[in-house]
Amino acid sequence: MGNYDFAIGMGGAPGQGIESSGPLLLRICARRGIYAFTYSAYQSLIRGGHTFLTMRLSSEPVANHGDKIDLVIALNQDAMDKHLQNVAPGGAILYNSDNTKPEGDVPEGVQLCPLSFKELSNNSRNRIMLNTLLLGAALNMLGAGLEQLENILTIQFQRKGQDVVDENVGIARAGFDHAAEHFTPFPTSLPMQDKPLAVTTGNDMMAMGGAAAGVKFYCAYPMSPSTGVLHWMATNARDLGIMVRQVEDEIGVANMAIGAAHGGARAMCATSGGGFALMTEAIGSAGMMEIPVVIINVQRGGPSTGLPTKTEQGDLWQLLGASQGDFPKIIVAPTSIVDGFTVIPELFNLVDKYQCPGMVLSDLTLSMGYTNFDPDHLKWDQEIDRGEIITEDNGSDENYQRFKITDSGISPRALPGTPGHVHVVATDDHDEDGVLISDEFTNPHKRRDIMEKRQRKMDGIMADLPAPTLTGPEDADITLIGWGSTDSLLDEAASLLRAEGYSTNHIHFRWLYPLDEEKVNAVLAKCKRGIIVEGNYTGQFARFLRGETGFNADGHIRKYDGEPFMPHHIVDGAKEIEAGKTELYIPYQEIVV
């Protein structure tokens, strides 16, 4: 990390305003050009319970929430009790002294920063303003001015009248001034960098990636933690000419997306594990009817309804095994929030080329996480390649066959409505004509031909997909191996290990299926001690990788407690494995909500 690396934790009950003041602080940082990554530990309640938002701020791009918390903003006693011990030495905790006080030992070197909301707000009954008071105080301690917060509050409350603006700005200033008088500021000030940044979430990025890919049909059934994609799409649908539908269930979602895709639109949908389970039959039908469609699965803790507001990497095998029989499909796992934008257009070009379903495996950490990033990295003019499609009567296709047997397995796809190309696509297996004659499939030779035609597309897909990436020294003693959302975490852990004298590198998988054995083994061959890191109980990726390549890892680090990994979890685990103490390390989660 760069020279500024600071983390703020905000704890309180849902409804106390963390969900708005967190992004508010991020926006202030974005205007100052500060990068950020945010993880929200929350519960499946609209009111009640406890929320803890970790915001890591940095002068460099950052894509995980790090190891330490420098400042806790405790909105209630619960937050104080739960998080006082999480504050790093040299850190501080801000709280409302009217109803919150530290109990038990205060960790050494932690500054207690009490403010009385009653006194500083002139007995205001507007309790939600406690957020603003503490935010004002925090900005002072961070060495930032109040200007950006004042601007944002003014814009936010303008419509409610000058009185409301004055009240809010006043309370922010009261907090700011009180801190100036009573608290010791942090030694390093929040930098002011030249380039203003943007604030986004993983779900928003994937939705934007869809828009950039030319998605014209999006449908969904609301399900945490994937619903953000629906919200973004619904908000922007009219400006971008995207048809957005909320459907009665996920069975309907997947089938509707497939119908829209067959009609020619680039179609996408998103859900989480339970909804994905309902979609699986339809995914097989897209494979059989050779219709390109993209399905996002944002993983949460399973099995079953599981942990609706917690993260996991537990759906890999569900995707691998989705639907009966064999058919070409592609699975990709974005490696960061911003990668969500890139992955979607890339996947659409592939599924259009190979006329098959494509699946995106995100997780709660990425999808619900916020990040501050440089918006210049968003490439809006994405390459859009629809593959071999026929949209007009070209007069030459006397005997058009929708499922024509070709060397590549790809058969030119005529969109419905095109004169001269009338055909039927069927979920029953069919011959080149797509003619459905069930009795024909007592014909083993036709069945074999059409099966081999479809599966030949897998060769093309494998040739098109890149090998996993290797970062760090090639001949390192330890290799951390991961997939999807843990990319930045493992890079950071590898660099921390190197700083402690452990020669470490990192292999990361973004494209998960199909894996080209040769390409993958060429990278894995350099591994001396491979440690596979993943967020599930049974080592789903480790088993998959062994099955596809024969690679056996020397150690495993796994987590399935609902909370994302922190870099030190990996560092500690790698050292234990390296020392021969264990082959399987399960990190202990220190921050509990």
């Binding site: 049909f217 009219r238 048809m243 539908r245 089938n255 005997n399 969109l415 001269g420 009338v422 039927v424």
Partner: protein, 299 residues
């Protein structure tokens, strides 16, 4: 396929919609009459085969797209309406026909049926209702009568059948009709009006299964059906339509029960569709201005 949707110069006839594959239904199956009526109805609209897409689920009657000369999709069991909704919204310039049976539409696809009806999307849904599961060789269906003996109810069904017409009317369908496969001319007219109707149109058809349903036979219906058109029924009157939908006994009404031409179809209410089919757009990229406006939201 020889008559593979090539542009047809003269006005299309029912023959132009005849597929190359002979139906594999049991000889004497009610579905033959439905297919014939549909070919006639499509031709009467003056549209060409490539302007239609016929979408089905799974079941004997869902094999129909293979036997008619239009674009076709033979989807999963119970999912035809969901697929058809996506297809219609992707290319609303096409005429979308959905076919299937009572098990497909009212059983496994029941949830999609309710919600497609209420959305009033412009498509015609033909349910070949034979009150039995045929392709799985004879089990009870959501429209089997109380007491009916089938392979899965050997001592007689103890469940009340559902009433698809009343259900559709109450769920917001704007065209609800019932025909009889034994009267293809009457059925074809109901289908033609359903295709031309702007909104969701249900055409439930008595299409007897001669192999597995010995109760609801051609003779059973022939004796009982009477046409609403001959009874002075007013299809714009929802109360009267519901009353007719409740009648089941020695007389069973067929014809147009209910029609509401005042409601907009889903596609009419969606601004995104007003400048052409989204599935036919070729310029898919985001403009620089759109990109900048999206970035502004995040700053």
């Amino acid at each position: 396929m020889a008559n593979d949707g090539k542009p047809i110069k003269a006005a299309p006839t029912a023959k132009d919609f005849k597929g190359n594959i002979a139906p594999d239904w049991c000889p004497g199956c009610g579905d033959f009459g439905v297919l014939r009526a549909l070919e006639m109805a499509c031709a009467k609209t003056g549209r060409e085969p490539h302007e239609f897409i016929t979408i089905s689920g799974i079941g004997c009657s869902s094999n129909l797209p293979g036997f008619i000369n239009t674009y076709g999709m033979h989807t999963l069991h119970g999912r035809s309406l969901a697929v058809a909704t996506g297809m219609k919204l992707s290319n609303h310039e096409m005429k979308v026909i959905v076919t299937g049976g009572d098990g497909d539409g009212y059983g496994i696809g029941g949830n999609h049926f309710l919600h497609t009806v209420r959305r009033n999307i412009d498509l015609m849904y033909i349910v070949m209702n034979n009150q039995i599961y045929g392709l799985t060789i004879g089990q009870t269906s959501p429209t089997s009568r109380m007491g009916m003996k089938t392979k899965s109810t050997p001592f007689g069904s103890i469940e009340q059948p559902l009433n698809p017409l009343a259900l559709a009317i109450l769920s917001g369908a704007t065209y609800v009709a019932r025909g009889f496969s034994g009267d293809t001319k009457h059925l074809s007219e109901l289908m033609y009006r359903a295709i031309e109707h702007n909104g969701f149109a249900l055409v439930d058809v008595f299409s007897p299964c001669i192999t597995f349903n010995k109760d609801n036979t051609f003779a059973f219906f022939k004796q009982r059906v009477n046409k609403l058109e001959e009874e002075g029924h007013d299809p714009t009157d929802m109360q009267a339509a519901l009353q007719q939908a409740m009648i089941w006994g020695d007389e069973i009404p067929i014809g147009l029960f209910y029609e509401d031409t005042t409601r907009d179809a889903l596609e009419d209410l969606e601004p995104v569709l007003q400048d052409g089919a989204i599935g036919r757009k070729t310029d898919l990229a985001i403009t620089k201005e759109q990109g900048e406006s999206i970035v502004k939201q995040m700053m």
